[in-house]
């Protein structure tokens, strides 16, 4: 099965940017069609891959594309899908299609250039998920930021230039350190194993670097990923960037880019630096915990709707960090599930922000909103579904994800799990506050409540349907992801259990069947 389909991942990867370039050069009338095709075909591809994926072998790479690219530097062009990135790729293509339809139905200025940058961004993100070579991953990770620099700087809000430069520099400090660490990893691993220089992840996983080397490499990678997510205390770039980003861009940025960072932990950091992961486990768990508490607290005190969602993202990513650094398969699976869930809920939420602000005379502060449900029952229902999913109401897929994460953390660090449980309650507070303040209560004078138009429904309803479907059957993602997560977490888990229990160092983790 895998050898026949090797070219498909490259098509999936480069299709968005190819059509975006065509769209940028095409006549004005053809351009929106090209942009839509550029976003919808990858979605179709991803769905086919979902159906065709063999969950039984999810721990190993499928649909592998492996070609020589730069032999002098040891970089190979290697793409592959396994349990870790399958659903994330599906999420990426779905949300970019969502954004493309949004932009097609609510056009912006200079739409061709806008679509070009969005397409380039989708290719870069897909590349980061698909890459199986460390330098290829770093290349796409750094490339991800370039189109967003332009999207914010040219189409953003009033303080856009400063916000975008701050965002790019803040993120790139970490990413450039990661570049140095990635090159060092390849070089040192090559020296250690005596073989020639290679950056292919599967080869790097096999070599075991000395512990102190692992430590500083871990720090560089962790810094890059924590800044990207963002996690407390590296979230300084978030408020301005979120305030000034155009909403369609913000939807994919918040939903997908943060997941690349979390995925990076599972794909690179845990398998290649297991000893350092165990050494820094407590630190990272505390970072996740503080992110949850801080993000939730800020989310239910701020009045700007965008920042409510921004801080809630910090909190949700905090949960994902907890799941990853529980260093157990349950935690990892919960993390993957939550990555998909959070993406699915936050993107339509930003669309709803656009709808809310339209109805509130352009304001995005919840002080100026209220009573929007009175003449907008459909909008209110959809918003309620998404809001309940975000706060992880039992019955939603988010609940399954958070349950797994907390289960994983419970088994390793009890205290942190107990404190993290409060995060679940806090999520309810900020999400319900946002819903009630905007949808219920009295209607202020300059607010005009109206229902969802068909045009807006075309954008919103598909994603809500996906959320509902996922809520009914999250097992789909869990069974696909199980093998991949187990493989990713295996060495770190072994080191961690070895340290806790030197006598029974080889005890296996209990199987997870939620």
């Amino acid at each position: 099965m895998s050898s026949q389909l090797t070219v498909h991942l490259s098509i999936l990867l480069f299709w968005p940017v190819a059509f975006a370039t065509l769209g940028a050069l095409a006549p004005r009338r053809v351009a929106p069609v090209l942009a839509l095709i550029g976003a919808l075909i990858p979605l179709g591809y991803a769905v086919l891959l979902l159906i065709d994926f063999d969950a039984g072998r999810s721990g190993s790479l499928q649909y592998v594309t492996d070609a020589e690219w730069i032999p002098d530097l040891g970089v190979r062009y290697k793409l592959g899908i396994d349990g870790l990135n399958l659903w994330l790729i599906a999420l990426t293509t779905l949300l970019w299609a969502f954004s493309a339809v949004w932009v097609a139905l609510r056009p912006t200025e200079r739409p061709r250039l806008f679509a070009f940058h969005l397409g380039l961004a989708e290719t870069a993100v897909l590349g980061a998920f698909l890459a199986q070579d460390l330098l290829l991953f770093v290349l796409f990770f750094d490339l991800m930021l370039v189109p967003f620099y332009f999207l914010v700087g040219q189409w953003g809000g009033p303080a856009r230039v400063g916000a975008t430069i701050k965002m790019v520099i803040y993120t790139l400090v970490g990413s450039l350190l990661m570049l140095a660490a990635a090159v060092a990893t390849g070089v040192l691993a090559g020296e250690q194993s005596g073989s020639e220089l290679t950056f292919v992840m599967s080869d790097l996983v096999r070599t075991s670097l000395p512990e102190d080397t692992q430590r500083w490499l871990f720090v560089a990678f962790a810094l890059a990923f924590l800044i990207k997510m963002p996690a407390f205390p590296f979230h300084g770039w978030m408020p301005d960037a979120y305030r000034n980003m155009p909403l369609p861009v913000l939807a994919v940025f918040s939903a997908v880019l943060s997941k690349v960072a979390a995925y990076g932990f599972l794909r690179i950091v845990l398998p290649i630096f297991p000893d350092a992961s165990v050494d820094f486990q407590t630190v990272l768990l505390i970072v996740g915990l503080v992110s949850i508490v801080y993000g939730s607290a800020m989310a239910f005190t701020t009045t700007e709707v965008r920042l409510i969602l921004g801080y809630s993202s910090i909190a949700q990513l905090g949960f994902i960090v907890l799941g990853i650094f529980a260093l157990r398969p349950e935690g990892g699976q919960g993390a993957i599930l939550q990555m998909v869930n959070h993406g699915l809920v936050v993107a339509p939420l930003f669309f709803i922000v656009a709808l809310l602000s339209e109805r509130s005379a352009g304001s995005e502060s919840i002080r100026d909103m209220g009573g929007l449900a009175t003449r907008g029952p459909v909008l209110a229902s959809l918003f309620l579904i998404i809001a309940l999913a975000t706060l992880a109401i039992p019955g939603s897929a988010n609940f399954a994800g958070e349950f797994l994460i907390l289960l994983g953390v419970f088994q390793t660090k009890l205290v942190i799990a107990v404190i993290a449980f409060t995060g679940v309650a806090l999520a309810s507070v900020y999400m319900l506050r946002a819903y009630i303040r905007t949808m219920h209560n009295r209607t202020p004078t300059n607010v005009a409540s109206s229902d969802l138009s068909v045009r807006d429904g075309v954008v919103l309803v598909p994603v809500v349907l996906v959320i509902l479907a996922f809520a009914l059957y999250p097992q789909a993602a869990l069974s696909d992801g199980e093998g991949g997560v187990k493989a990713a977490v295996r060495s770190a888990q072994a080191v961690s259990e070895g340290k806790q229990n030197p006598a029974t160092a080889a005890s296996a983790a209990p199987e997870v069947t939620p």
Partner: protein, 576 residues
């Protein structure tokens, strides 16, 4: 016994002969009275000469021969760098074709000096002998001093030439002093002799020898703009005519690093443990100074000057490691650096001739909307200089990082990436100016005291009098411009960062500091973006486009350039 004439391998030195012949022919042709001969034939023949040199270099590729009593070695490194010099020189000819400098200084003279400089560079990187090094160094430098001053009626240009002459002479005197100490300590002027002496005896610890190394490094650091001997770079780059600045930025740097590689990786490699840590520290200082210095600049040429200092720091890290990979990394980076810089300078040249803002960042405002053919080259050049993926600069940095990490200089790798992170601040500002600002919009105070403008004293930042270049090319004949300051009227400049050097300027303290006052100052500055209209300069735009395409191509598929660099590195036989 019949004395035998020494055999000269003419085929091997054919690139040098081509350059010399071309220089003489061009100089003579410049004496013709016909306007066509002077303005079209002379530059055309210059390009033909450079093309012939490149062709001969490619013809001789792979044949590593020592010529002229082993004083020069025409091997792959020499030929690779020759190709880089020729590429830079051809671009310079294209940038200068419609420029003011050849017209004012005489076409024949200008292009002859350019060819002579290239000749000096080839001799310098081919040198295997201390005397040949000095000959090459001087032959490279002296025409360049004059070239900097060729915009005869612009005071900043003359100032830059004079400054370069004085400081460059100090540099070459230091170099000569150091070379003489090396000779004194080892008894030989040949690199092989020096290497043998270091290997055989313990002259590597001799004070005379170490002093010689120190002075030699100083002399070469002047040429390569390595801190703390970089002080001349911002002023000279800013004052010189932009095509000459472009040439200096790319070709002189390549020549300087070529001789760094030769000297330190051939002659002095035995004492690497002595000089390598010192050079590594110099590299670190250079990276920091270059990046920090560029942060506050509003003049693009000054900013690119500081950025070239920082890039010199990155490349010096590649020299430090003295390995095959290090040499390959340096040559690759020099080639990538040539492409990115030429694209940026080409756009600056076009805008200088179209607006009266000179090389100020304000000349870039609004390019994204109105001139995409200029906006994209500048954007990609800046992204590549910062090391973003999908550009040649990304792989250049990766190559350098690989080279230093493999040789236990991991802290230099961290310095390189942190320097790149700092550099983002100024490179992104340029991109923001191109895409995110409307023409005429300024973010800094631009007040100029009226007395300063009227006095005709040059302002610190930017060469506003480039305007006479554009005006002159449209007027029938030359137009002498007695008051460069008059053109600068109405254009304030934000004060520079802490700058040593520069003419003492009474307005310097008076000119507004970096305050965020939005007042654009007198009206002409605000409308400057469209002041002089568009000129047809296809050859300059061509340079920009071809360098951009090269940057992107090698960013996606760097292998050809890596092979090219590796062949150059293979010329060294005794590396680590």
């Amino acid at each position: 016994m019949t004395p035998k004439a020494p055999s000269i391998d003419f085929a091997a030195i054919s690139p040098l002969i081509a350059l010399l012949t071309g220089a003489c022919v061009v100089l003579l042709l410049g004496l013709l009275r016909s306007r066509f001969a002077r303005t079209q034939l002379v530059p055309g023949l210059t390009i033909v000469t450079l093309g012939a040199t490149a062709g001969l270099a490619i013809w001789r590729w792979g044949e590593n021969t020592s010529v002229l009593s082993a004083s020069l070695r025409m091997d792959d490194l020499t030929l690779a760098l020759t190709l880089l010099f020729v590429a830079g020189a051809i671009a310079t000819v294209l940038l200068a074709w419609r420029g003011v400098a050849p017209r004012e200084a005489g076409h024949g003279e200008f292009y002859c000096l350019l060819l002579a400089t290239v000749l000096g560079m080839v001799v310098l990187v081919a040198a295997q002998n201390l005397v040949a090094v000095f000959i090459g160094y001087e032959l490279l430098s002296i025409p360049l001093y004059v070239l900097c001053a060729t915009e005869l009626r612009r005071e900043k240009s003359l100032e830059s030439g004079l400054k370069y002459l004085i400081i460059g002479s100090v540099g070459s005197a230091t170099l000569l002093y150091g070379l003489s100490f090396l000779y004194g300590a080892t008894g030989s002027t040949d690199f092989s002799g020096i290497a043998a002496a270091v290997r055989v005896s313990d002259v590597g610890d001799d004070v005379l020898f170490l002093t010689g190394i120190g002075l030699t490094v100083t002399g070469l650091a002047f040429k390569a703009s390595v801190a703390p001997f970089h002080q001349w770079t911002p002023d000279v780059y800013e004052g010189a005519p932009t095509p000459v600045t472009a040439f200096m930025a790319v070709a002189t740097k390549a020549a300087a690093f070529g001789v760094f590689l030769r000297l330190f990786d051939v002659a002095l490699i035995g004492t690497a443990s002595t000089w390598a840590p010192a050079l590594a520290v110099l590299a670190l200082i250079t990276i920091v100074v270059g990046n920090v210095g560029a942060l506050g600049q509003s003049s693009l040429k000054r900013m690119l000057a500081y950025s070239s200092v920082a890039q010199a720091g990155y490349m010096l890290a590649g020299v430090v490691v003295s390995t095959q990979l290090g040499v390959q990394a340096v040559v690759f980076y020099l080639a990538a650096y040539l492409l990115m810089n030429l694209a940026a300078f080409a756009v600056i040249v076009v805008r200088e001739r179209e607006t009266d803002l000179g090389d100020d960042m304000a000349a870039m405002h609004g390019l994204g909307a109105s001139r995409p053919w200029l906006a994209w080259p500048m954007t990609i050049a800046m992204l590549s200089l910062a090391g973003f993926p999908a550009t040649a600069g990304f792989f250049g940095k990766i190559n350098l990082i690989q080279a230093v990490v493999e040789n236990d200089y991991a802290w230099l790798a961290v310095a390189i990436v942190l320097g790149s992170a700092i550099s983002l601040a100024y490179y992104l500002r340029v991109i923001a100016a191109v895409w995110m600002r409307a023409p005429g919009e300024t973010g800094r105070a631009r007040a100029v005291p009226a007395r300063l403008a009227a006095s005709g004293r040059p302002l610190i930042a930017g060469g506003a009098p480039e305007a006479d270049e554009a005006g002159g090319s449209r007027a029938a004949g030359d137009r002498s411009d007695k008051e460069p300051g008059a053109h600068a009227a109405g254009e304030g400049r934000a004060a520079e960062g802490p700058e040593p050097g520069g003419l003492p300027d009474p307005g310097h303290a008076a000119a507004a500091g970096r305050t965020e006052a939005a007042d654009p100052g007198p009206a002409p500055a605000a409308s400057a973006g469209s002041a002089l209209g568009r000129l047809r300069q296809p050859e300059v735009v061509f340079v920009a486009l071809i360098c951009t395409v090269g940057t992107l191509f090698f960013g996606v598929y760097p292998s050809p350039l890596l092979d090219f660099a590796r062949d150059a590195g293979d010329a060294f036989t005794n590396l680590f």
